[in-house]
């Protein structure tokens, strides 16, 4: 039996893609395997680790808990869309690098997208607010110490207008 498929358009990082997928295709798989945007990672596929977080109309969402067919008519931003137009690192990316906020880098895309939305909402987080912001994402390498620092640094970079 052939699986029924659906034709849809996904707008990712400002580019519209057309694809044909079965209804059960996870958004995370569609991004990674159909569109080749492998920056979005899957660490659990049950919505707990946050590695697969992407921005859906600017809000962080777990792409392993969404079907691709339900992601039409929205703007999706993945980690690949966080750099500046000129190719230089965006403030959260830059802050992670400066603060050693990543080791293996597997959880990192989910943190970067989550924090991008977080400092949009709260442009000047305290350390406690920074912790709150990332409290739904798992990292097995860093012990979070430097990720908390990176949140604060990212807010600073963004405010400094490093965010062109």
């Amino acid at each position: 039996m052939t699986e029924k498929t659906h034709e849809l358009r996904l707008t990712v990082n400002g580019v519209t893609h057309e694809l044909t997928v079965p209804a059960r295709r996870l958004l995370s798989d569609a991004l990674r395997h159909d569109l080749g945007l492998t920056g979005t990672h899957v660490g659990c596929e049950h919505g707990v680790c946050g590695a697969c977080t992407v921005l859906v109309d600017g809000k962080p969402m777990r792409s392993c808990l969404m079907f691709a067919v339900s992601a039409v008519d929205v703007e999706i931003t993945t980690v690949e869309g966080l750099a500046h137009q000129d190719g230089s690192l965006g403030p959260v990316q830059q802050a992670f690098r400066e603060c050693h906020g990543l080791q293996c880098g597997f959880c990192t895309p989910g943190f970067l997208t989550t924090i991008t939305a977080g400092i949009e909402e709260n442009p000047d987080p305290t350390e406690d607010e920074a912790r709150d912001m990332i409290a739904g994402n798992l990292c097995r390498c860093t012990g979070y110490q430097n990720i908390v620092k990176a949140v604060c640094r990212a807010a600073e970079l963004k405010a400094q207008g490093a965010d062109r």
Binding site: H41, G43, C44, L102, F106, L138, Y144
Partner: protein, 796 residues
């Protein structure tokens, strides 16, 4: 002179690609690959009566379905027992696909190859297996009781019994003025890297060559295993380890069933094939660690000096023993920590259970050993009414006693001989850092507010940088860029950065011009792997030596070109110059001169053609020399280096809810010279977080039938940011290792080792209750309080 990078916080070169989402993990390669799904045993112990795969073949999109029946040759033999040991008398390993019997929930039984993972998983549902259920052996007590057996031919469920001693511990204990005995337990946990296992294979029929990508800690190990299993010449197999999403030990085991099945499928089907483990599979079909029960007998004098120590313990290694006895051997030797008991005897049994196999998890048996030794020190202090730090101090090996030989054999088959360290200095530092001497005042203040606090301390020594060897290749291109390769793999330790620092320093080139490749057998086919905090020591030293060789050659050629003495030359920013003059030559040009050419293909190479260089009276490449500006070398130390550390933690326990809160966490750490303090501190942070997980949250909840009840991130509680200390105070001590040229010792595992020991001590101190089993949850603490108050005849 270029400023030295060794010891400085250089930002990582890995990060740019990783923060852009352009890293390459194994699931990111070969987008056109077919996907594998594996049928895994739902039972902990069963005989397989029949497997019916008929229905699968009709499913559209399915390319193959295989069971044990479809394997032949070496593939039909059990997987290798990687680390044999004379005492491992009853070692057993599983088959790539189960033959007749399954011994844990998760054991591979059949595999399907399909167009994508969705279809492959659908197909698994059509396989019908008929099982005869057998009683499961779960937990150390059940295994030890041996009323049921995991393997019929392994009496008592005992794979190995090992014993070591130094002096007559029993006699020393019998003669000691004071004695104590303790029973101590640690539960199962697991590495849980955020990326699970994964393997991709492509068979290149045109070249008769197999290319394998694996998320492994040893690409050379996987290569050898794949070649042996598939009957291929080693030189026909390339294994590449791309970016790896964490390892922490589990990925050192090899080959996993999928690591040989996927290459086999790629060869048989002539298509690229991929297996990407999902999270549930990682819980039930990779590896766990830590579960051990220990019984301690100790004899000591009035000062708390240990005169005799006798430790008997039982190690749960799961259903099979592919990784041998490494974990319990490490516990049995490393539990000695910084101390020198008068006499020591240790004996362990390594036991089969119907659960997932065991391979090292960061710390590898040391967290258990440290827990045992440090609980013993605390118990001695308590029984003598002495300060816990003081009791430790009287037992320390002193700085003038190095090298210190414990009279035991370590995990690498070499003497357990510590190279260097300064434990008294370290104790002073940790006491200052945590505020040990001021704590009673703090406790009183807190008590005044109705708050209950406690402080704990734990010390450890970690054998790092075990052999046998690592190698490195340093190649200077005619552009002046330096390409470095070492064979061990990286899982987030920043090797590309740290190793480039070493090369930049040694060669005198710009850091930006150095590019390091790890874990690619095409670039460095001789290597061992990344485990036991050995990468910096082993590959770091090999790279240093290889860079030195390349430098010697560069200087020799440059001296000829500049008509100067080698002694008068220096290299800075990639340019060789004669000290105090203007005469200079870029390294790239030296590389051109190193390779006499017949053909010119660009401007640079014109300078090296046969009519431009060389003395016509001599052979273009001198006897014993080689063309090219390269250096290759290996580092193989006589024995391990020994790093050390001490952690102290202050906790607060809630008088009502039993919640355990971390108020302060302090670390003093000695890994010899630091290559990159930023990376070392990051390693400590991560280790401490895993230590917190191991002490307070993480355990594998098996029921008595062998089902793992918490096989998801929803139920296996790894620390989020909300569970780790809000800050970790770190101080370093640097006692260089005399065993390697850079004086380094390795730092990867350190942060996790004393976690359970330190927390147990702090909780005990807060609660005045004896803590003998970790991890401990609030409900377990509540139960301990209840039991204590019942015993005391009080109302709770």
């Amino acid at each position: 002179m270029t400023t030295k990078l060794m010891g400085t916080k250089v930002q990582r070169v890995e990060d740019d690609r990783l923060v852009r989402g352009t890293g390459r993990y194994v699931d990111d390669v070969a987008p056109d690959a077919l996907h594998v799904a594996v049928l895994r045993s739902p039972h902990a112990h069963a005989r397989i009566l029949s497997i019916d795969v008929e229905a699968v073949l009709d499913i559209e999109g399915v390319h193959a379905v295989w069971t044990y029946e479809d394997l032949d040759g070496a593939m039909a033999e059990p997987l290798p027992l990687l680390i044999p040991h004379p005492t491992l008398t009853h070692g057993r390993t599983q088959y790539a696909l189960a033959k007749d019997e399954v011994n844990y929930v998760g054991e591979a039984i059949a595999m399907v190859v399909a167009d994508n993972r969705y279809l492959a998983e659908d197909a698994l549902a059509s396989i019908v297996v008929d099982y005869e259920l057998l009683p499961a052996v779960v937990g150390i007590e059940t295994a030890r009781a041996a009323e049921r057996l995991v393997h019929d031919d392994v009496p008592g469920n005992v794979a190995a019994r090992m014993e070591q001693s130094n002096g007559d511990a029993a006699a020393a204990i019998a003669a000691a003025p004071h004695t104590l005995s303790l029973d101590l337990a640690i539960e199962r946990s697991a590495c849980m890297p955020m990326e699970g296992r994964g393997v991709v294979a492509k068979w290149d029929a045109d070249n008769g060559r197999l290319q394998v990508w694996s998320s492994t800690q040893t690409s050379t190990g996987v290569r050898a295993a794949v070649a042996a299993k598939l009957g291929l010449d080693l030189l026909k197999v390339d294994v590449i380890t791309p970016d790896v999403g964490g390892g922490f030990g589990v990925k050192i085991n090899h080959p996993w069933p999928e690591e040989v099945l996927v290459p086999l499928a790629a060869m048989r089907l002539g298509r690229p094939v991929k297996f990407t483990e999902d999270r549930r599979e990682h819980f039930i079909s990779s590896a766990h660690e830590r579960a051990q029960l220990h019984h301690v007998e100790v004899g000591f004098d009035d000062d708390g000096r240990v005169l005799g120590l006798d430790v008997r313990f039982w190690h749960d290694h799961g259903a099979y023993t592919p990784y041998g006895l490494i974990v319990p051997i490490i516990t049995s030797t490393q539990l000695l920590g910084p101390y020198k008991p008068g006499a020591y005897h240790v004996q362990f049994d390594s036991l089969y259970t119907n659960t997932v196999i065991v391979t090292p998890y960061r710390g590898a048996g040391r967290p258990q050993g440290c827990f045992v030794m440090e609980r013993t020190m605390d118990a001695i202090a308590a029984s003598l009414g002495k300060d816990r730090a003081e009791v430790r101090a009287v037992n320390f090996i002193q700085p003038d006693e190095f090298p210190y030989d414990h009279g035991l054999i370590f995990q690498d088959g070499r003497e357990l001989e510590y190279d260097s360290g300064d434990y008294p200095a370290m104790l002073t530092k940790i006491k200052d850092l945590v505020g040990w001497d001021e704590f009673e005042q703090f406790r009183a203040e807190m008590a005044g507010q109705g708050r209950r606090v406690g402080i704990g301390l734990a010390c450890y020594v970690e054998g790092t940088g075990v052999g046998p060897y690592e190698g490195a290749h340093v190649h200077i291109e005619t552009s002046g860029k330096v390409k470095v390769a070492t064979g061990l793999t990286s899982q987030g330790q920043g090797h590309q950065t740290a190793f480039a620092q070493i090369v930049a320093d040694e060669l005198g080139v710009r850091f930006e011009d150095v590019e390091v490749t790890t874990g690619d057998t095409r670039r460095m086919p001789y290597a061992v792997g990344t485990f036991a905090s050995r990468a910096a020591v082993m590959s770091g030293s090999a790279i240093h030596k290889a860079a030195k060789k390349a430098k010697e050659k560069a200087l020799r050629i440059a001296a000829e070109a500049l008509e100067a003495d080698v002694e008068d030359l220096e290299i800075a920013d990639g340019v060789v110059s004669v000290r105090g003059t203007d005469a200079s030559i870029p390294l790239g040009t030296v590389a051109v001169l190193s390779n006499p050419l017949r053909y010119a293909f660009d401007e640079a190479s014109k300078a090296a053609t046969q009519f431009s260089v060389g003395d016509p009276g001599k052979p273009p490449v001198a006897e014993g020399d080689e063309p090219g500006l390269e250096g290759k070398d290996f580092y193989s130390p006589p024995r391990s280096t020994f790093a050390s550390g001490m952690h102290a933690v202050i906790v607060e326990t809630d008088p009502d809810t039993c919640e355990i809160k971390i108020l302060k966490y302090a670390v003093v750490h000695d890994c010899g010279h630091l290559i990159n303090p930023m990376i070392v501190e990051g390693q400590i942070h991560g280790g401490v977080a895993q230590g917190v997980g191991g002490a307070l949250y993480e355990r594998m909840a098996y029921d008595e039938s062998g089902q793992l009840l918490n096989a998801s991130f929803m139920d296996f509680l790894m620390p989020y940011v909300t569970e780790v200390p809000t800050s970790i105070d770190i101080d370093h001590l640097e006692t260089p290792s005399p065993l390697n040229p850079l004086g380094i010792k390795g730092a990867g595992e350190a942060g996790v080792i004393p976690g359970s020991a330190a927390f147990a001590a702090a909780i005990e101190d807060a609660e005045r209750l004896s803590i003998t089993a970790m991890p401990i949850s609030p409900s377990e603490l509540f139960a301990l309080r209840q039991a204590a108050s019942t015993n005391a005849g009080e109302t709770p």
